[in-house]
């Protein structure tokens, strides 16, 4: 026992701890069970290569089942153990931890969800969305529709089908504003939680409204049902674009497999597929240990997002270590480390992400992948749309929040 403890104490000397919240149970477990192994695998990969400048990284995981109290509990635990930051999972959890992060000067990440306005690093100094938020995603979806429909949306009809919770509502004001700018007609269709029946919405879209393009922002079981429903009603899936949480392999499988979902457009903030150097390295690591790569790896969309999350933390810690000249970084150093991330592509898995003290979103880049044969094929390059409008909205909302508090 004593030896074990001594061993632990020695290992802790050169270890940097990150708190990690996951969702392997609860309503969005389909994401957590795929995403979290990705983060762990990347960190294991770095550790197996000797760590970051000799420092081992330890991501201590806790399952929150998408509830807020365990998230707060775990945050305090991680803080007490000396974590340099926290990987948050879930929009309500991000909202609840935001004040604490600021108070404790502790960086936290919320890739692809959370508070849209927190891209503004001046007002949200310790919160890092590090991926396109819902506003950027909504704007990118409109831009994609515009390009697909021949460069103009004037007089066109767009349907926005969304999960009826706050996260589902979030892109709506941006799309509404763009409908005025671009002159298209917008109709919204709500899918009430728990989202296991979408038949009436799908019928209303495919049979009555007959839009030129559909933007799908749903979660959980709904995306699969929407793909299946639209297909059955003869609506072309090439004219559907799904935001990032309706874009996984699980949604395709749920709809009945690749053959059903041919042409479906998915939006990604981390590249889909296995064809990236970093994924190959992880596979090689498993092979060296004589083990099979985890099943989660097959679900490339969420797994790769996990890898991306791990990679961004490692990059931030690496930057922080240059600031401290190899000494153990403080949470504030890691925050600065995040703000030094520049043009970070991770061999194409990532957008050219650049995080600055002003822009914690990292540019708001996304890429559209289309379902073709047995996989996702890139349909666009990394792109972003209506950036001025989004940044302006972030500033205004952040200022309002600052004034209200």
């Amino acid at each position: 026992m004593a030896i074990a403890f001594a061993g632990l104490a020695q290992a802790e000397d050169k270890t940097i701890l990150i708190g990690m919240q996951c969702d392997r149970t609860g309503p969005t477990q389909v994401v957590g069970t795929m995403l979290c192994p990705g983060t762990h695998d990347y960190i294991d990969l770095i550790n197996s290569q000797g760590g970051v400048d000799g420092w081992k990284i330890d991501a201590s995981e806790v399952d929150t089942a998408y509830q807020v109290p365990p998230a707060v509990e775990e945050y305090e635990h991680a803080k007490q153990q000396g974590a340099v930051g926290i990987m948050i999972y879930g929009t309500p959890q991000t909202e609840a931890l935001n004040q604490r992060l600021e108070q404790d000067k502790m960086p936290g990440t919320s890739p692809g969800f959370g508070i849209a306005a927190s891209g503004d690093g001046q007002y949200y100094p310790y919160l890092f969305p590090i991926a396109a938020n819902y506003w950027s995603q909504g704007a990118a979806a409109v831009k994609f529709a515009k390009d697909q429909l021949g460069g103009s949306l004037k007089g066109k009809k767009i349907a926005y089908i969304f999960y009826d919770n706050p996260a589902g509502h979030e892109p709506m004001p941006v799309i509404e504003e763009l409908s005025k700018v671009e002159g298209f007609q917008l109709q919204t269709f709500a899918v009430p939680p728990p989202g296991v029946d979408v038949s009436s919405q799908v019928l209303a879209i495919a049979q009555e409204y007959r839009p030129d393009f559909v933007i799908d922002h749903t979660f959980g079981k709904s995306p699969a049902l929407i793909i299946k429903g639209l297909k059955q009603n003869g609506y072309p899936l090439t004219h559907v674009v799904a935001l990032v949480w309706a874009s996984g392999e699980a949604d395709i499988m749920g709809a009945g497999g690749w053959s059903v979902a041919q042409g479906y457009n998915t939006m990604q903030f981390a590249g889909a597929g296995e064809d990236y150097p970093v994924i190959k390295e992880i596979q090689a690591m498993y092979k060296k240990e004589g083990k099979e790569p985890p099943a989660a790896m097959k679900s490339t969309v969420y797994y790769n997002r996990g890898v991306q999350q791990g990679a961004l933390w490692v990059a931030a810690i690496k930057n922080a270590l240059t600031l401290t000249h190899g000494q153990k970084p403080t949470p504030t150093d890691v925050k600065k480390g995040f703000e030094m991330i520049h043009d970070f592509t991770l061999g194409g898995l990532n957008a050219p992400l650049t995080i600055t003290a002003d822009d914690h979103e990292g540019g708001g880049w996304v890429k559209i992948f289309r379902v073709k044969d047995e996989g996702f094929v890139p349909e666009t390059q990394w792109f972003r749309a209506y950036r001025d409008l989004i940044v302006d909205r972030e500033h205004k909302t952040a200022q309002q929040m600052a004034k209200a508090n």
């Binding site: 149970t25 399952d63 365990p70 509990e73 007490q80 309500p92 508070i115 919770n165 509502h169």
Partner: protein
């Protein structure tokens, strides 16, 4: 020996009605009070205090549900909804009018009580599983309303950030400061409920639970008392919602979903229906269970499993334990943890001369 009832003489009505008639009970309560006032905040780390704080909030909610389900026999699967009513009422008052906590907390409770009365009206006609479904409906109606009426929810994000409570100009932010704040309300809830249940109203609740027709025949106005039960219970739920809001610094209806309602039911079932102490035990047990499972497995699970297995095992094992324990208590010990505690106490009543 130390729990001896001999030699305790009651010479006045006041002594007969005392909450704690035995000297040993008074000493025990004093000991517990000293423990929670001095030992816990001084010895416990910030993280353990966070756990204790969550237990304290859950205590208020569990006692509230126990008044309705355990004492009055009316089931509710809508308490998560009442909590969000309290949370948003308080959050709006705090943010828009700058109301202090000592007004915001009762205001949140009262609004929840009002909604609770409305939801309770069907209980006058229907019972058991039918009432369960009616209260479940209220859960969804409340969530839908908050989600769609931005006047209540403060915007499409449906989250309202609130500043920490301040007492005489002191802002309560750290776990230690919030601990005393929450302890006060948990103790208040415990004492108030213990007394309520000894009063005319409490007796009427119990009579309705045991046999409502008999209760009506002996002159209890069922209409009025059932609504009282809903109102009081929802008041507690509303206060719980406000405490959560202060604690987390945010009002958000997504954290008061149906799983929360079920969790609170599990607390009072495992703790023991119809007892304040049981609700306290249950709240502590259910709040600490996931954390204890995780700590146990991460420290000792390495003997049996690989680190990867533990990561997937922990969350799922918590769920398995949760379901298993509810079934276990329903079958083996329907009176819950409270009964276990009473068995221990009764053993020591005659100890060491138990024959």
């Amino acid at each position: 020996m130390f729990h001896s009832e001999t030699g305790v003489f009651k010479t006045s009505y006041a002594a007969d009605m005392a909450l704690l008639p035995l000297p040993v009970a008074r000493w025990a309560v004093l000991g517990i009070a000293l423990f929670f006032l001095f030992v816990v905040p001084l010895v416990f780390s910030a993280y353990l205090l966070t756990l204790v704080n969550l237990v304290l909030i859950a205590v208020v909610g569990a006692i509230g549900l126990d008044i309705l389900t355990g004492y009055t026999g009316q089931i509710s699967i809508g308490h998560g909804g009442f909590m969000s009513v309290g949370a948003y009422t308080a959050a709006n008052l705090i943010v828009r009018l700058g109301v202090p906590f000592w007004l915001a907390i009762p205001a949140g409770g009262l609004m929840a009580a009002l909604i609770g009365i409305i939801v309770g009206i069907p209980s006058l006609r229907i019972k058991g599983i039918y009432l369960a479904i009616a209260t479940l409906a209220s859960q969804f109606i409340i969530a839908w309303t908050i989600n769609h009426v931005t006047w209540i929810s403060g915007g499409i994000e449906a989250s309202i950030q609130v500043p920490p409570p301040s007492v005489f100009g002191w802002k309560l932010q750290t776990p230690e400061q919030l601990y005393f704040f929450l302890l006060f309300f948990a103790v208040l809830a415990i004492v108030a409920t213990l007394n309520l249940m000894r009063s005319r109203i409490g007796r009427a609740f119990i009579a309705i639970r045991d046999q409502d027709i008999a209760a009506e025949i002996i002159g209890i106005n069922i209409f009025r008392y059932k609504l009282y039960a809903f109102a009081i219970s929802s008041f507690y739920a509303g206060v719980t919602g406000v405490l959560y809001t202060y604690y987390l610094g945010i009002a958000n209806y997504e954290q008061f979903g149906i799983d929360v309602s079920i969790n609170y039911l599990a607390m009072i079932i495992i703790g023991g229906l119809g007892s304040v102490l049981g609700a306290v035990f249950g709240a502590a047990f259910i709040t600490i269970l996931p954390e204890a499972t995780r700590l146990f497995l991460t420290h000792f699970g390495g003997v049996l499993f690989s680190q990867d297995t533990i990561r997937t095992l922990v969350p799922n094992l918590t769920l398995i334990l949760f379901g298993g324990l509810i079934i276990f208590f329903l079958i083996v010990e329907p009176e819950g943890l409270n009964r276990l505690w009473r068995n221990i106490r009764n053993y020591f009543r005659l100890w060491p001369f138990s024959y």
